[in-house]
């Protein structure tokens, strides 16, 4: 490992940027993810980076961290142009990134994780455990952590794991550290501890980029904030000159005259409609705490929240997957307890998970994908492939699935059509409750509209629909009432009146 040049003079007060990105454009298969963006970082600052999903902030950071190479524009570190070809290059240039998905090895000790891949070695290739533990302890102490380096890392809470990963990046010599959504899985005291560590690093003259959806956190910790929208930089401003609301306004481009579909909606929650499913005080001891929600007949309930807010766990819990430590679910007024997803299905609940791979059999023909959830309704014991195909053909016609071939292996269909098949699974025997996670994510416009139409028609036929999404547009397009989740708890509920994206972002 090389030292990567001289260490910057301690307490440098010069405003010469430590990193400059000039005129950066990045294209993925004809789609511009970044358009002519300038971006810079000052030494010893915490720089907040915000924007909606797909606004370009992650792309920019991955370029800086050497994950993506090959872009138009120039990158300078300490005023010198650099060309990074890999994350290792970036680290050698003093840039390290802590990703949202941690790359720790849970079964190794804290010390081993800090030194992952660079263990100190004594003569004869033997690992120098003593030195490793000593140095790990010093490293962690510099972040204000007092952890026994021989603890198994998997036994520590996520917040500490994250700080240990951060210390690994620090240890490898990074002076610019990019943190991607570091607070999304943390409890408030853990957030406070992280911020404490970040302030220490700032005092040491290191530069920190703080990417986050949690605007309160951004306002709290950062010195400057940059807002991205649609692949362009909207503004870079001192945090003291911004408020949460003004940041939201920059993010969603308020003031632009035309409002698109899904920017706002009139909610039409009607409390007189019959409650089909009512969940009270659901907790799983990890991701969700005391969530209560009511799903009503003929209504679409939207659940909005950032990644990791507990949506996935809530949906799974209602479908009989995942263990609840407390809480109670009533279906049509009767308390139910689903031992398996099969029990939930038979009770009249349907579920389409957020990832198509989780619900489809790519190598099996379309008709088997459609019929899997209703085989027992077709016949108790035997298969009726001709019935299955007939049912599938009906769905192909109703949902306009292309190509219209019930025998085609599902993997040959486009993403949007696969999503329709996943929905079709629950359309033959209309369920009482239909839970849809990210029903329109990653779909082209036409398929998206088809799916929206299908979901609305199900609602109109009396199904209690639950739509969970991290995309405000999806929620605003579909929902009749909205529950916002934040770090595993219900943060806010909207049942009527006008709401727009800013309301959702502000609540989450």
């Amino acid at each position: 490992m090389t030292a990567g040049g001289l260490t910057p003079p301690a307490g440098s007060v010069s405003d010469a940027p430590v990193l400059q990105m000039i005129g950066v454009t990045k294209t993925f298969g004809g789609v511009q993810a970044l358009r002519d963006v300038d971006f810079d970082l000052a030494p010893g600052e915490i720089h907040g980076l915000v924007g909606e999903n797909g606004a370009g902030k992650s792309t920019m950071m991955k370029i800086i961290a050497g994950v993506y190479h090959g872009f138009e524009g120039e990158m300078r570190v300490d005023g010198r142009p650099v060309h990074l070809r890999s994350p290792a290059d970036a680290l050698a240039a003093g840039i390290g990134m802590v990703h949202q998905e941690l790359s720790i090895v849970p079964d190794l000790t804290v010390a081993e994780n800090v030194f992952l891949g660079v263990q100190p070695i004594m003569a004869g290739g033997v690992v120098d455990w003593g030195r490793m533990k000593r140095e790990a302890r010093t490293q962690l102490a510099s972040l204000g952590l007092d952890i026994d380096p021989s603890t198994r890392i998997g036994s520590l809470p996520v917040g500490l794991q994250q700080l240990i990963e951060l210390s690994r990046v620090l240890f490898s010599g990074a002076k610019i550290i990019i943190l991607d959504e570091p607070t999304s899985a943390l409890s408030p005291p853990e957030v406070a501890r992280l911020f404490d560590a970040l302030r220490r690093l700032r005092a040491q003259g290191r530069t920190i980029v703080f990417i986050s959806h949690f605007l309160d956190d951004v306002v709290d910790i950062s010195d400057r904030v940059t807002v991205f929208r649609n692949g362009s930089k909207v503004i870079t401003e001192r945090t003291s000159a911004l408020t949460k609301d003004s940041i939201i306004a920059h993010m969603i481009g308020r003031g632009a005259a035309d409002m698109h579909m899904g920017e706002s909606t009139e909610l039409s929650g009607d409390d007189s409609r019959a409650v089909v499913l009512s969940a009270t005080g659901l907790s799983d001891g990890q991701m969700i705490r005391d969530i209560s929600i009511k799903l009503r007949r003929g209504e679409i309930t939207g659940v909005y929240g950032f990644m990791g807010c507990g949506q996935v766990e809530l949906a799974r819990a209602l479908f009989g997957k995942g263990k609840l430590t407390s809480g109670d679910i009533k279906l049509d007024g009767e308390t139910v307890s689903f031992r398996s997803t099969a029990t939930a299905r038979r009770a009249g609940i349907g579920y389409v998970p957020e990832n198509r791979r989780m619900m489809l059999f790519r190598t099996e023909p379309m008709y088997k994908n459609v019929s899997i959830a209703i085989l027992d309704k077709i016949d108790r014991f035997f298969l009726r492939p001709s019935r299955e195909r007939a049912i599938t053909e009906g769905h192909i016609k109703d949902l306009q699935i292309r190509p219209p071939l019930p025998n085609i292996a599902l993997g040959n269909l486009s993403g949007g059509n696969q999503q329709k098949v996943a929905l079709a699974k629950w359309l033959t025997e209309i369920p009482k409750v239909l839970i849809l996670s990210e029903p329109t994510r990653g779909m082209d416009v036409g398929a998206k509209e088809d799916v929206i139409r299908i979901v609305r028609s199900l609602r109109d036929r009396g199904v209690a629909v639950l739509v969970l999404s991290t995309e405000p547009e999806t929620i605003l397009t579909l929902a009749d009432r909205v529950t916002v989740l934040k770090r595993g708890v219900v943060a806010r509920e909207f049942s009527s009146g006008h709401i727009d994206k800013a309301d959702l972002l502000a609540a989450a």
């Binding site: 398996s340 099969a342 029990t343 299905r345 899997i372 085989l375 108790r380 298969l383």
Partner: protein, 338 residues
């Protein structure tokens, strides 16, 4: 962003071959082996020898039927041979033995012996099923433990002795013939037929394939995945038990370790036949071809001039080749789908 391809891909021979590789390769191997041995040894290409091959393969075949269910769900059962052995010994334990056999056994009526033995076998399957689905022990480890347990039961019951007597029905079915065909062949074929019908035409069979194809998707489609896996583990134990009972009569004696080679043979038969180790692909048809490939190979090598020690090595190499094809076929299929 998803790239949309709205049309079905046109038919192509290359893709068809790639997708069917797991079915074509074993049949091709079988044909080559049959032609090879037929030209090399006259004694190979006789009707008697054909019956001989089938008879040798029939006990393995019964075990392989149960194993096919397990492997289709992407699990494994390493306890099949040990359970067969224990069950074979148990049925002898319930039968009056000649005076010179020094086993403290508990003789009962023949049909009671059979029912008790089948119940014991079901219980062993239930324990495996509970370990895998209830506790969550990987089937590889759970059945390894069950293998030891079943071997222990065998050892406890016979204590190094050999038992020779079995219920009459078992003796007939294990060593007798019907219209000149060994009963074991008939029973093996019957079980294969039933298994094939179950896998192809019943809801349970579809679930077995779907659980093997994508366990998560099956679960999110409201399939009781644990129930399906528990069922196949029990089915497999029952098949092993039937094979064990008929096997001891086929051999004419029941003793420790006499089924040891059946574990590898049964797994080899299923895998050589082309049933995917990753689950969801294959079936009884594949298992039949796999059994014939191994049967022809074992038998054929006896008919030609070859070092008998080399036989073992050759079988190992054939198994390796089959594994390579099995894994390779999976990859080919996936790339053909892209």
């Amino acid at each position: 962003m998803t790239v949309t391809t709205e049309t079905a891909k046109p038919f192509s021979l290359g893709r068809f071959m790639a997708e069917q590789m797991r079915n074509i390769a074993p049949v091709f191997t079988l044909i080559v082996l049959v032609i090879f041995f037929s030209t090399q040894a006259e004694s190979f290409r006789t009707f008697d020898n054909l019956m001989n091959i089938l008879s040798q393969a029939s006990i393995t075949g019964i075990i392989a039927v149960g194993l096919t269910f397990v492997i289709l769900t992407a699990e494994i059962d390493l306890s099949v041979a040990a359970i067969a052995n224990a069950v074979g010994i148990l049925v002898a334990y319930f039968t009056i033995q000649p005076d010179y056999v020094n086993i403290a056994n508990v003789p009962v009526q023949g049909w009671i012996a059979i029912i008790l033995t089948l119940a014991a076998c079901f219980t062993l399957g239930l324990v495996t099923a509970f370990g895998v689905t209830g506790i969550g022990i990987p089937s590889f480890i759970m059945t390894l433990a069950m293998m030891q347990i079943a071997n222990g039961i065998s050892a406890m019951l016979v204590r190094g002795q050999i038992a020779y007597n079995f219920p009459d029905l078992i003796t007939t079915l294990g060593s007798g013939t019907v219209f000149g065909v060994k009963w074991t062949i008939v029973i093996c074929l019957l079980l294969m037929l039933v298994a094939h019908l179950v896998l192809t035409y019943t809801r349970f069979g579809r679930y077995v394939y779907m659980v093997g194809g994508n366990r998560e998707a099956a679960e999110f489609s409201g399939v009781n995945v644990k129930m399906i896996i528990a069922s196949v583990m029990i089915i497999c134990a029952m098949c092993s038990g039937i094979a064990g009972m008929l096997g001891v009569a086929y051999f004419g004696s029941a003793q420790q370790n006499q089924f040891d080679t059946f574990l590898l043979d049964a797994i080899a038969a299923v895998v050589v036949g082309g049933t995917s180790l990753f689950g969801g692909r294959g079936g009884i048809g594949n298992t039949i071809i796999g059994l014939l490939v191994l049967g022809v190979l074992n038998n054929g090598l006896d008919h030609i001039q070859i070092d008998s020690f080399l036989k073992i090595l050759i079988r190992g190499l054939i198994l390796l080749a089959a594994l390579v094809i099995n894994v390779y076929a999976q990859k080919l299929r996936e790339t053909a789908r892209e």
